[in-house]
Every structure is written in C-alpha cells, then in structure tokens.
Symmetry: C2
Subunit: 479 residues, 2 copies
C-alpha cells in the first residue's frame, strides 16, 4: 500500500487548508489544467465528462418543461448592451471588449457576452408579433466571459460554461410562474442528481441581477460552512420589453409588452459537488454525473482467467452503467487511490479467489465499506449500493448544513455562533432595510444569501436595528 | 390549396436565382434570423435542433473511435498564436482582437480563437511526458470566430459552431492513420447520415491549412454545380511539436517529438444539406437529422375522435421517431406547405374516412408520393419509407454530381463543358505545378478542389501546360 499512502499524502487535508485541498483535488482528479490565458482554464476529459452528464440531464429536464435550444452570437455591440440602464451598469465594468477585426479597428466595439439578455431581447422584438407567438421558451448552452479580478477553477473564472434560459410571456403572472418553475427545476436537479440540499429563496434588493425585478436563487452550504449560489432565476417584469420594444397584439387587438425571465446554471456546479461531497481521499461523485460509475480492478491479473473475467463483467454491465476496466500494470494500491481520488462511486475487485467463489468485492467510495457480492445478483447489488451512496452523501451534506445553521437574534449571537462553531448559515430576522443588511455584513462578515420561501418567525424584530422584522433571512459567507 | 400556393410562391425558385432560393429557405424554414451583430446569426430552435442531431451522431462516432471531449479557453494570447509561423500568417489577418477587460487595457491582446491548435499544443506540452501518455485523442465542441468580409448564413459567418479534434501520437505513421481515419469518419457521416455523396482527397500545397503538412478534405457538389468543402483533416507532422516543445520519453528513454493532427466540421454542413436536397417547396431533411421525422396532421379535426386518434398515433410512434402533431387551426393546405418548407420527411394524414378504414395516409417529402397504409403495420411502413427516402435523396444527389462531372483534357474543353452544361466538377490531369493551378483558375474560373484518393489516369499530360501529369484533380467553383 506504499503507493496509496504516497498518493493520499499529496493532497492537503481539508481540515488543514480547505482552499488548498480544493485546488489539489481539481488538479489531481484531472478535472482542470491551467493555461497561459489568465483566469481561464482547460477543462480536461474527466472534468468535461462530468459537465456533459450535468448538461445531458438538465437539458432533458428543460425540454420536458417545453424549452427549446437556440444559439445567439457571442458578441454584443456596445449600443445594444446599453439599451437597458441597470443591466449595462451591472455588466459593463466586467466585460471583455473586442476592438479590432483582423487589422482594422471596428466602427463600434463589441463585448464578448457576459450574459445574453440583450441579444435575446433584440431577437424577441423581431419574432414576437401576436399572442400566438407566446410564450417563447428558449435556452442556450454556451460560454460567457466576465473579467473577474480573482479567479478559482470552476468557482469564478473569466470564461465559464453555462446555460442561460430566456423566456417571454403574455402576462406577468405567467412569467412569475416560469421564474419559480425553473428555480424548482434547478433545486430538484441539485437535490436529486447532485445529492446536494439547497435553500430556495429570493435575493434581497441589493443582491438582485442587474435589470431584474426579482432574483430567485438556490443556496447550498459547502463542507467548510461557506455558502455557494448554485443557480438563479430572474423575473424581469416588462422592463426589458419596454427598453427593447417587445410588443405583441393580444386577443383584443391591443398592443402589450411581454413579460420576461432568465435563469442560469454554470460549471461552478462542479465546484459545488467537490466541496459538498469530497473528502481527504479526493472527489466523491454522485452516481448520476460520475463519468465512471463502476471501475473494475482485476486482482492478480496475471493469473489465468482474471482479465477475461474482468472484461466479461464489463461487457455484462456496460449497457446499464458507465464502466471501466483498469488492466494497466500499476499496482492495486495505486489503482485504489487513483479511483478514490477521481470519486468513482463503486470499485469492483475481481481476483482468482473471488472467481472460485463466484463472487466479487464491491467497495463504496464514500464509506469505503466492502461488500462480498455473488455474481448471480451483481446488477441488483450495484443498483442498491449506488442508491444508498446517493442517499447517504445527500444526508451527510444535509447534516453538515443543519449542524452549521445557527439561529441568531442579534449581532452578538451571530458573532458568537460563528466564532464558536465556525462558518455556516445564520438564520436571522431582518427589517428589510439595506442599511441593516450592510451593517450585519460589516459587523459579522456574513452577507444576506436569500430570503427563503420557507419563512419562519424567529422573533418579530430585526437582528440589527431591533425594529419590526419583515423577513427571515439566510446569511453567510459566499463563494 | 390557396394558402399552399401562396406560401410556395414566397420562395424564389432555384432555377431563377439559386442564391436567393437558399436565403429564402434559411429564413422561411425558421433556421436562422439575422441580428445586429454583423456577420453573425441567430440559430433558431428548428435550425439548432438540426445541429443537435448532427452533433449527437458525430459525437458518438468520435467516442466510438476513442476520442474524448475537452474544453479550452476561447481566448489565445497574441504571443501564443505567434509560436507557429505558418499558422499565425494564415490566421492573424482574420481574427477578432480583445484589447480591454472591463475599463482597463490588457497588457497583451487576446484573439478570440479562430481554431485552437495553439491552445491544444500548449496543453499537450504540459501533460505529455512519456510514451504512456500517448496517444491523446481530444475533441472540443465550441464556437470560433473568423473576421470574414462577406458572409452567408451557415456557409460563411464571422462566428460559427464546430467541433475541432486535436490529437498527438508517438509516430508519424499513427498520426497519418488518424488523419485518414477521421476523414473517413466524416465521409461516412456525410454519406450515411446526411445522404450526401462526397469525394475524398488531398488538398494541393497552395490550399492546405495554415501550418499543416497535409490537408485531407471531403468535397460535395451542390445542386447548382458548385463545390462545398464539408470537412477537413490535417496532418501536422512534428512542426507544431517543435514550435511548442511537445516531447515524450520513448521506451528506450529517448526524447521524441509527438506527431499531431487536427480535424473539423462545422454548421456549414446545414448549408450543404439545404443545397444538396432542397427543392422549390423548401428544405428536404435526411431522416436521421430531421428534428421532426413524422408530422401528424389531423384532417377535419373538429370531427369526433380525429384529434384523439392523432394523439394516440403520436403516443404510439414517439419512442421510435421524432413525431409532432399539428392541431392548430391553420388549414390543412397551410400545414402541408409549412412542413414541406421545413423538410419534414414524412407527413401522416389521419381523418374520419381513414379511421373508418383503419388506415392513414403517408406522404414522402421528396417525391410527394402518397401511400395509403394500414394502421396495423404503420411502424414498418414508416421505417420503409424513411429508408427509401434516405436512399433516394442520396441517389439523386449522386446523379446530379455525375451529370455535372466533366472529364477535360485541356483548357478549352473545360470552358466548353462549363458553358454548355453549367457549373460542376471538372476532372483533369495536373503536373503539380502551382503556376498551372493558378492558370486553370484564371482561364476557366474553376480552382483545384482536391486530389482524390481514387486516382484515374485520364491522360498523361497536364490539362494546362501539356507537360507530364502527376495527379488527377477535381476542379470546381467553391462555396
């Protein structure tokens, strides 16, 4: 087991330095590599395969809710970006500007899309004329650019991959329903597929998307007690429609403005998965997004029949699961570490002794528990262990969140809870005043994460000013 | 049938003006819409669904040949682009330059990738160390930018979607084999999936990709007799490896340079499909890439049971085919035109009389032939008609190519063939001298398309200078 030990030692433990542990994992699990393009990353095959699985499942959920994919240009002319006042104020400071095409300066500079509201609005103004054209339920998968100062793989980078939904509806009510529907699609995806519990809620005024009337968000708590915004869904009312003149003729032949939404999730979900489930041996991947769900390791593979048996099992399982056989000449110990690092949910060991007994060994990545399983009911056992693993990592993440959620009634209680128990969610009442929101952040370090839809009345006064409270808010330090 | 007539009249006929016919189709079949970003287009849901089907099938063929997907940054620092001399000369004049991030000028300007050889090379230099790391068989799906002066939807645009494969191998031979393998994957895809016959060959020296040692290409002939390059596969030898210092230690512990390839296909394939199979009623889509394979049109849909039956048939067919019911209140005539315009391979009509007879009507898009089909063997009949349609449009395209392929022995014969029969492929011998290649183009208007792998000896002298011929070449006017 010398190699295994060596490999494990190469990762910083999360207790020692969580940020370094994270960086070690993204590199050593072969998820990303740095490039000479500052703030951008190379997503390697293993990391990209995780993203493809996320894409595939999300995309089918979008299509099941009636959405269609499109592709918009990656450039936005400056004049187009400027059409909606709040939107341009929010994004202009962080866009990349194209000023030259070939050797010639452009008449008007173009930004590389940081998000595509303006392009969708221009398109909608062209194609929406009558109530019969509504709703428009569009989505696109693409990369976007935001010129961030400090970057971290997956969590914050100058270019990232995402999907952006953009919809137009006849009425405000329909648009609000869409905003909620997509937040729930996101939340269900996080909980069912990524095994990551989330809080569903609304952002405060100061934390809204640039140009939105309301921003809904799902917030997850990472292993270190910091919050991560995993997805957002925005309701725009008719602000963009007025700025871009997107009008339709209703059934009474009257011109009306459409009501719009947008919503997005990004490659930062991969960062969220790492920090929700990973441990000191590496990644732990939820089965549905794992590029390899079962890795078959032949033991004493030079012995007659072992490799054949390994390949026979692969053949048998591969229509049902994503399976890989590693028959390289690395030692079993090295292989154990390697696939633990990569977060493969199940390891299947098969050697001469197992073959004699018509069995194999299955090892769960999260608990490292060993199961001796008859080959007669291998599929059932794999199915059972994968679901148990999924349920178990979800529950572990939920327990971590519950352990690290502190109910506080004043600023002192917040500071006390955080210093005694470490970072986490603070649940506390708020009067709705931005000054108090800022003061909480300044005096405790935690900012408002969201006003959860599931409200509780912890007290009737604001945690900061003591005046009448309007909302219960989740507060936290955020990635 | 008044509406149908009206609709069909809206398209320019291809005999009258092929270019306008093409533009009419891309717009009226809802494939694209223009945007205020000059030279870039909006790919609408129907057009994007065609691309998704192309992607899906190509991607599985790439994976079946051992390739993995990755994602590289969309920006290339100017210094990185300049590392390979020929490559930068080819691409620098047509790239878009990012010079500012937010409000600050960049220390070094970045181009938006026109292709990603340089980024892959930089990455390969980082991750390839030993012969055990080879081969690397990577692919990426993304958009790229080339600052074209004149643009046409799908065929030539400033931004387009594509895939780019980039591979690194231990030996020249393996890299050459890969270059050929991928050209064949492309050719088979075009012929089997897009029903579009292609000529497989090699580009002449003057027509190679910037930085390549050899460029292989597949060339298709469009309905109007112009050629379209549908895909290319490049062999780089070790030129890039030397420029980027991509070395590995071989089994004898000696440092060696890798040998590389790249290969790409783009959204221009959609343009190729339009111009290969379309007619004066609109698009004709090959079944495998059609977003809707069977459109069900209820006839006299207000009559009892008709809509129910239409939905029952959809239910029955939808696991097997991509099916849509159009129960809108548009007239049957309007619907006939609409789905002909959109190139839906089969129209299924079901009305009260059909129901009485336990039958439906199937209409093939390409021939508009009607088939009365018993509902008892509907699936078999659909399967049969779809395969017949696929074979038939392939054969029609092949016939068009054969009819428009002219064997010529001198410049006069070329001019005579083209003026008598219209544009097409010219097959003629060539001495290998670039001066003759240029002279042919200047004196006849047709350029070299490729040196086909399937060589024929039409004569032993060059079509231009009369000296000894080296190759038989396909010449043509190109999109």
């Amino acid at each position: 087991m010398a190699e295994q030990k060596k490999m494990v030692e190469e990762i910083t433990s999360m207790e020692e330095d969580f940020a370094q542990w994270y960086t070690d994992i993204v590199k050593k699990a072969d998820l990303i590599e740095y490039s000479s393009v500052k703030g951008c990353m190379v997503i390697r095959p293993y990391g990209y395969a995780v993203w493809e699985n996320i894409q595939h499942i999300l995309d089918s959920r979008f299509k099941a809710t009636g959405h269609e994919n499109v592709y918009m240009p990656m450039f936005i002319p400056e004049s187009l970006l400027q059409k909606e006042k709040d939107h341009v104020e929010g994004f202009a400071p962080e866009v990349a500007w194209v000023t030259h095409g070939g050797s010639e300066p452009l008449a008007e500079r173009l930004c590389v899309r940081p998000t595509s509201e303006t392009l969708f609005c221009e398109h909608y103004a062209n194609i929406i004329h009558s109530y019969r054209d509504l709703p428009k339920l569009y989505n696109q998968w693409c990369s976007v650019v935001r010129w961030e100062k400090t970057t971290r793989p997956f969590l914050r980078s100058r270019e990232f991959l995402w999907q952006e939904g953009h919809t137009a509806h006849a009425t405000a009510q329909e648009a609000v329903e869409e905003t909620e529907r997509m937040l729930n699609v996101y939340a269900d995806f996080c909980e069912e597929v990524l095994c990551m519990p989330v809080v569903r809620g609304k952002k405060t005024e100061s934390d809204k998307f640039a140009g939105a009337e309301d921003t809904y968000a799902i917030e997850a708590l990472m292993h270190d007690g910091k919050a991560l915004q995993a997805g957002t869904s925005h309701y725009f009312g008719d602000d963009f429609a007025r700025a871009f003149n997107i009008q339709y003729t209703d059934k009474n032949n009257t011109l009306q403005y459409v009501h719009q939404t947008s919503w997005g999730m990004t490659t930062r979900l991969i960062g969220a998965v790492i920090m929700s489930h990973g441990d000191n041996n590496g990644l732990v991947l939820p089965p549905q997004i794992a590029p390899i769900q079962v890795v078959i390791l032949p033991i004493a593979q030079h012995k007659p029949g072992v490799l054949d048996k390994a390949y026979e099992l692969k053949e048998r399982l591969q229509g049902l699961y994503r399976v890989k056989v590693d028959d390289s000449d690395n030692s079993p110990g090295w292989k154990f570490s390697e696939y633990e690092m990569k977060g493969v949910p199940l390891r299947l060991e098969i050697g001469p002794k197992d073959m004699e007994k018509n069995q194999c060994v299955l090892v769960r990545r999260d608990t490292r528990e060993k199961y001796f399983v008859s080959l007669d009911n291998l599929e059932e056992e794999i199915e059972r262990l994968l679901s148990e693993l999924a349920a178990s990592i979800y529950n572990k993440a939920l327990e971590n969140r519950e352990k690290r959620t502190y109910i506080c009634r004043n600023i002192d209680e917040i500071n006390k809870a955080l210093s005694e128990n470490g970072d986490g969610f603070v649940k506390a009442m708020w009067c709705g005043d931005e000054a108090c929101e800022d003061a909480v952040k300044e005096q405790t370090g935690v900012g408002s994460r969201c006003i959860p839809f599931a409200q509780e009345e912890l007290s009737d006064v604001c945690v900061c000013c003591g005046k009448k409270a309007k909302h219960m808010v989740y507060w936290g330090k955020a990635y």
